[in-house]
Amino acid sequence: MKNTLKVWRAKKDITQEHLAREMEVTRQTINAIERGKYDPSIKLAFKMARFFECSIEDIFLYEE
């Protein structure tokens, strides 16, 4: 699964640490998601979409 989390984070001008605190996860988790090494749960994806005020599909792109 690809994602544009880094872009959204840059738009809001926040650090991984800041986003991690908002999402109640570790900074390493945000880093792993950005690098495409970890796919977040649907709950975390919704939380991110709500935080960035967009839809899940705007951040995450599922490719077969």
Binding site: R21, V25, T26, Q28, T29, A32, K37, Y38, K43
Partner: protein, 130 residues
Amino acid sequence: MQVKETDMLIVGFILFLIGSGIHIFEPDRIINPSGAGGAFIGAGVALFLVTLREIRLKNKGNVVEDERILHIAEKTSHKTLVILIILEGILMALLGVTAFDIQAYPVVSLLFAITMLSYAGFYYWYKRQM
């Protein structure tokens, strides 16, 4: 400090006390007092240190455990369990065929060491992967 942390600190202290008791009094029923005592003391101290680290991180406002950590632990546990099942199966078959008369303590200690090492190894490996 939450109830969970307090409980873990108490359990750590109790394990340390049991270990120290075994070391000091060396009861006759225990075959290897230094080994058993050392194991209890080690477990107690490790639990104490891990809990103190968690408390420190939580006080700083950091998240200690999240879905990724739990997912890594899940995969690690599964792999470790598979390895243990295979090893125990081989051991059982070997002992059944050869009828070796070996003591339980070294075998259980070896299995314990393998469990700890494979868990730590797989945890580290999955953490790098994810």
